[in-house]
Symmetry: D2
Subunit: 311 residues, 4 copies
């Protein structure tokens, strides 16, 4: 299958179900993939932040890729995160992911090191020069502590280095700058601008985004697909009502007590607890060293599901 240019629609960053002892739970993972396909999503993003890629070993990353690609049989485009610190290590990830069937790779700015914009540009140019599949920039300052400048993304898009942007910066103004700047480019190169937000998908699509990569779509793929279709048909009132329902559902990411755990533990724990409660996966375990949700916190996740009509 040819990778779509531009990629559009709802492309969930797929959670990675784990067994109680931290191994990839492949049967649950494939049930989750079926749940997403059945929900009508337009592609899958494996090994992203929501997939706990930062926690998965290299072997686990490969296992996830191979299991999902084999299971899908080319039904949907598959993107793979190549989450690592610098160019040589990212390239190892790119080679592994493409060998396992990824049709595009999603790459952040370097992290751990102290990075200059010129080095970020060099990073993407080197990765793209070696990669056999399209490279999509992953803007996630909360993780890598650098914001990708809109000007840099557009320069790399114009040069054919980048095939798209997955924006998890939360900054819709800067995102719009990329959308607008990419508009002419898109006619010729198919550059794809995707929001990673759960909360402003309607706004992002209204201002011209190609699609969305919301972690919460693991829990409610039907909702985000419905939202996407309402936006595409320019039913903005309907879209706003659906988005409002999903925003309320998203409140689940804050069930974890901040005095006891970090934001990743709370959000990823809530998504997995919800998937368990919905009967999609067997076990809500998150990877070490994340703190598990308490029984009472899981109960609150259930209330969010009930409130959104999902239980």
């Amino acid at each position: 299958m040819t990778f779509p240019a531009p990629l559009t629609g709802v492309v969930p960053p797929v959670c990675t179900p784990l067994t109680p002892d931290g191994e990839v739970d492949v049967p649950s993972l494939l049930r989750l993939v079926d749940h997403l396909v059945e929900g009508g999503v337009h592609g899958l993003f494996l090994l992203g932040s929501t997939s706990e890629a930062a926690y998965l070993t290299d072997l686990q990353r490969m296992l996830v890729m191979e299991a999902v690609v084999g299971h899908l049989g080319g039904q949907l485009p598959v993107l793979a995160g190549a989450i690592d610190m610098t160019t040589p290590r990212v390239l190892d990830n790119v080679r592994g992911a493409t060998a396992a069937g990824a049709q595009a790779v999603v790459v952040t700015a370097p992290f751990y090191t102290r990075t200059h914009p010129a080095e970020i540009a060099r990073h993407y140019r080197r990765v793209a020069a070696v990669s056999s599949v399209p490279v999509i920039a992953y803007d996630i300052p909360v993780a890598v502590h650098t914001k990708l400048p809109a000007e840099l993304i557009l320069e790399l898009a114009a040069d054919g280095v980048l095939a798209g942007l997955k924006d998890s910066s939360g900054d819709l103004g800067a995102f719009r700058q990329v959308v607008t700047g990419a508009r002419n480019l898109t006619e010729t190169t198919g550059f794809s601008v995707l929001t990673g937000s759960e909360l402003v998908v309607d706004a992002a699509l209204a201002l011209g985004a190609d699609g969305a990569v919301p972690g919460l779509a693991n829990v409610d793929p039907h909702g985000y697909v419905r939202l996407y279709r309402l936006c595409r048909s320019e039913d903005w009132d309907g879209a706003r009502a659906e988005q409002d329902r999903l925003c309320a559902l998203f409140g689940m990411v804050r069930v974890g007590d901040p005095a006891r755990m970090g934001g990743s533990s709370s959000a990823l724990g809530a998504f997995k607890a919800a998937l368990r409660l919905r009967g999609v996966i067997d076990c809500p375990a998150t990877a070490e060293p994340q703190i598990p949700l308490s029984a009472e916190e899981v109960e609150r996740v259930g209330k969010y599901l009930a409130g959104a009509g999902l239980l």
Copy 2:
């Protein structure tokens, strides 16, 4: 050889010489190790930040370990960085490094993820529970964007989780809190408190540190060993003069134009240029996506060497 408890003295974080095409230059690496041994250092720290561990692939990391451990033949204690994002990935690094002969592993707080202090504690406890060699905490907020609290380090030291601290935070006040708190512990458990600073080694040793892990000791191991001995013999005037000479030499890390490159490119580029100028390694290349120093910047590195009597 038994790992010393506490580890003391000068333990350079060994640079990783590369060929022009980015492969590990093993002959240069072994000449660098000989240069350090000949300089009288008390241990070697492989695969740390100064070693460009964040840039080396897994295979390159293994190659470095095996080459150096084989070459050393047990002459000196070897510590290995296990630089990765979270517990499962760090554990993979720990297994690899210990299989290759590391006698201790050096582990940062989780990064990329949003981490809570309780998760940092859990991280170290899990790593130590699995590791077959001592675990040393690596406090490097500039890279991981979290400062390890002194109280947490002391708690983990008291519980036998941590065997030491390598402090690259630059905060000598917090470092002193660990030194003082570890003093009683040290009598029984041999907890080792090491500064990662190039600039205040005399001060750190005067207030009770066990040793130093200065990146600049790649360039001038004799100088740091001399400084260590002057401090141990309580010749504080002599120590200050030697430290002042080394501080002036350290100015080389700022030769790179900040409008053109990041701090890592400048500092690591300068260390490698200096090693090339001193005839220790063959090629000053740094890993991608770092920006190389210009000829004029390399010339300025030479002036720093000359100023310190090293050319």
Copy 3:
């Protein structure tokens, strides 16, 4: 005049024209006010960040308030920033501004100090207890280095402490949480949710915001008023076209060379240069220690004006 509850529409943060020697240029200020009134704006926000409140002395702040309030004669609601570090100093500002005729005050979280959320809540409660006019929270993390949590704002709104929010955080997802949470409250208390963005005003209004406080409305009040009306009449295509034009115009904030000046110098310098080029104010000077734009940079501001049909 009664302060509207909720305040709605376009409420520009009014620039403070200065003479070449740094004094408030009152005739230019009043011409700017006339320009805004003529443009159809719904209120004026004096002494905010765009007003260079951080640079104005106490006397200059008073002079601005008195000149504008006297000139307006109650035509429009006037909000005043009370920009200072902590509660006692903010209260001094509140007293001054209300004595001079402010109908509401706009207050940030404490800054310079290391602040806990409980202290931010306490701050707003004390300020509101003393203030004789409504208090609007000013969320501007780029300046105060704290993000106001949506939950805190809603709690203070429910308790009648806050009358509104001016959001300059750039985080539209969090903003939406406040808009949605305030919806019921608004029916009874008139809580006003205003975006400080120049770039996503259409999106903010579409999701339920009451109005906008865009710095760029100094330069093109007619454009923002037109945008507001298009949104209110649910002409989303028209709104998007107008917003796109304003986004292009906003590019002027980046004319200043980042190697030579900070972001405040560039953005405030561009707004003032544009007002000078449009014939509204006499002198484009910004306050010390900001770096002035070069002649070539001012010329580029002119091109942005021409591109937007404003010259």
Copy 4:
């Protein structure tokens, strides 16, 4: 009295005692001054961060200055913080403080605004051009979110703009760069390099600092003066023992529960509670919106005093 060049010794940043309703408690303030003078300190720093300058109104700032200067009668040099956001507001503070008798002013980088190094330089040059007394740079990144580069300080020192540095950055390596760079300058211009640390005063003096400005010297001026003298007589073992005692005492700054209050509330609350327990001031109140220590937390302050032999 001529301002000493360089200023040397222990120069406490004087706490500002408040009444229960938040007014300056002048009798307590003067008793605190007497306590410090009697302890042998070499100068007083009023209106710094430890003085809660960020919380004091302009009138309160003036009252503090006038009360202390009048009381001292020229016995000791008096420095005054001019803590405000930008040049024009700092200049107002400078004028007020010098009119009230300050013999030097202490000035931070601009804050609240987004500042470029070139603007920081311009800021200090303008302040010094207007000030009738020497200007000392105050490096406090935790408050202003900018670190003053050593190169910039030395450039401004060489140009006669700055008369000294008060370093509260915690970065002893960068501090040393200023000390070393200022050594030649000092012979001609008397540039004074002062550490704001409580914890590494011995180390700072050993490497050439001129003096210290430790907040904890409010509580134990005798201890810091003793420490200073031990360092000056090069009794490094004695100095280390005294510094260790003071480090243990400094633990009091962490008595406040971090789940309930910020770091400023805890540290300033502890200093004032200690002064109350030692009988120096009447009331331990801190300014709004700081959270007061609980009775149990105050009791723990008492234990720190007892442990240091001060009760």
